[in-house]
Point group: C2
Chain length 444, copies 2
Amino acid sequence: MLSLLAVALAAVGTSEARIGGNDNWVRPAPGQDIDMRLLQDDANDAAQQINLRIVGNSDGKWNYYVQFATNNTFAAPATTCSAWTDDETITGTGSSTTYANLNTGGSYHNPSDIYQSPYLHKCKLEGLRPSTKYFYQALTSETLSFTTPPLAGTSEVFSAVVLADVGQTNYSNMTMTRAAEALETSGASSIIWPGDLSYADGYQPRWDTFGRLAQVLTGKGEIMWAGGNHELSSQEAWMAYQQRYAGTGPMWFTTQRGPMTLVSLCSYCNTGTDSPQYRWLEETLPTIDRALTPWLVVIFHAPMYCSDVSHQQEAEEMRVSMEPLFVEYGVDVVFSGHVHAYERTAPVNNYTVTECAPVHITIGDGGNREETANEFYQQPEWSLERDASFGFGTFDILDANLANWTWLRNPAGYFEFPGQTPFPVMPDYTIVDNAIWNRTACRT
Amino acid sequence: MLSLLAVALAAVGTSEARIGGNDNWVRPAPGQDIDMRLLQDDANDAAQQINLRIVGNSDGKWNYYVQFATNNTFAAPATTCSAWTDDETITGTGSSTTYANLNTGGSYHNPSDIYQSPYLHKCKLEGLRPSTKYFYQALTSETLSFTTPPLAGTSEVFSAVVLADVGQTNYSNMTMTRAAEALETSGASSIIWPGDLSYADGYQPRWDTFGRLAQVLTGKGEIMWAGGNHELSSQEAWMAYQQRYAGTGPMWFTTQRGPMTLVSLCSYCNTGTDSPQYRWLEETLPTIDRALTPWLVVIFHAPMYCSDVSHQQEAEEMRVSMEPLFVEYGVDVVFSGHVHAYERTAPVNNYTVTECAPVHITIGDGGNREETANEFYQQPEWSLERDASFGFGTFDILDANLANWTWLRNPAGYFEFPGQTPFPVMPDYTIVDNAIWNRTACRT
């Protein structure tokens, strides 16, 4: 392991550090947590913290969970939801639960340190048509909307926004509001979020303020998750993450949308070649039908490639074990978070730029209170773009060969100066070509 | 709350402390954790850490989960189990999962601090006859046995052993081995365990050593659980507890065995009158059919009544809110743990001895490494027996009117002197009479 580390450090260049990203962007000061209180009257059982999760499909239709919370000082209302288009209405039912955890730093001796969550509802909407815009309500909430993705095997464009390490500062709000606008504008169906949601860090009430702040985005598109360290450490132990957002299923899984198979991995589960996760990955990748889903996207929290000083080499064990599988089975793109800066690599394998390997994109610049990670090593050959500014990305798979990737930096003063254009010139744009279908030399 | 506390402290007498329990018993020195390694060859997928859980009944038959672990450095074997009597064999199947948690004190940066559990199997045996002794195997394990309890509404005797705060010292082993002998001798079906299992305290590998040590008991009878602080604090967050033993269902629930309805509550969830747990209890207690199940037993971890100096008043919020419900609905017996000593009360309500109220029994003397809690306040009127020695209890419901309760103190030198009788004269024995059926004045 030591010798590997030495090789890896050599691969990211000398230890000469430089400040800032690729340009002269003037970064705003770090954000503070903002406290998103309940907008509705506390003394009711209004649905809040609404978020969407796909739970499979059958007979060519999608099934969604509409997940939301209601105040636990009242009896839980029956879980209901409905979604409609011009010509159909689908109603859903479900159930609710509540979890208890010890606020970190608190003592079990003291009942005040025990946090009891709101009732957390899962309302199932079954039989949603693909690529269709639905309006919907949770209980009697305001009317929201989402668009369903295409089913696997169709040739339609698939679009998602990608963000991570978001938190709940004014910058978090900017990122999520703009990502929601991007969903609305493009009609995109999906959100890819490789970890670090609330930065509650074991103080559970912060999950509720986050849930209310984030609803502007999480209520607008179904989310594909990977767990981050902020969902695990500080007595979190995945509890809030799973109960409120990702579900209690396995921490690694695969799911399909239109032209894409997405593999979600767990940076904070064992990753070595003798681990259950590795064994699962090794068994799963060969079964993916790349004719049905030409694109293979992998997400996990801690990036394998990172020329930022922050969180250097934290995924090295995972990279050593799993990168050969990524290359062997033609993974096209890897999305990670964790480092609070944007970075995009060339196709790279074992720190060497090569045609037949995934592009790695780090999108951990969601805007949390921990500031940007704006100290970089000398830029290695494999690093094409990097910038320690807050923002998010859009990922549009056009066909079996090509996808568009755009990183959108949050403008300064977006909220201070409402007249400013919300989408300035994109600071990074590239065409990602499919590692199998558009790179003849890589077909095996 | 302050004034309540003052009243409560007055109720347990002056602050004059005295050492020891009710007799001149010479206590052995505290135990150290012992490391129960895998007896079988590590390089296989043998079933280990076997434990039993009832998951309901249908058509007059019980359904059991046989839960066990297999080494995760090998692929998970298909989950199989079988149980048999002289004239029938039942085979079961199931599935396995694995969880990851951060060892407390460790950092997410370091893969070595991430613990990945063994594969945890749940094998379902359906259609087990009541009050019947079965032999069984998990995978190809040695042959073990258990006896099923009577169904609700029958007039058969129901017997259980009761223990808590067990840990994994030589005393833990003594307690569990003797409790297993008691199950074997009496043909009892069940184990009541109101919290504190492994004392892993966030160092997850200790759950595996505990699981192997405890199998002598946990493989011998189905267990009714309540969560303790050692299942919550130190980054535990119920994860190991639920995945390995109690299941991921609600932290408060009700279940029936023969003449008994058992209500399991959560000391480390909110307990106030505006809490989901209280609301559930208030709705559930009136629905219990005391003609079908004459006995109503409640279990939770932190005792409401305790004249030990240790953990004084920790359940006071719960007592203030829930004790009126216990009295109103005729709870017969409350079993708790937490305090590392044995204590039994008279029927008591609001610190006053009264005929129409539950008997509270604290059985937190299972033998963990934290020593006994051998400093007591002057004995209040409501405290009938107390003793800071390790041991466990047996609870035998004879009919609708009467039950036997026996506390069995671990003998010193039980293992050092194998010839010593394993069941010396019981240090505490009483007849518990049913709060509704045997106390005419209490019927409402």
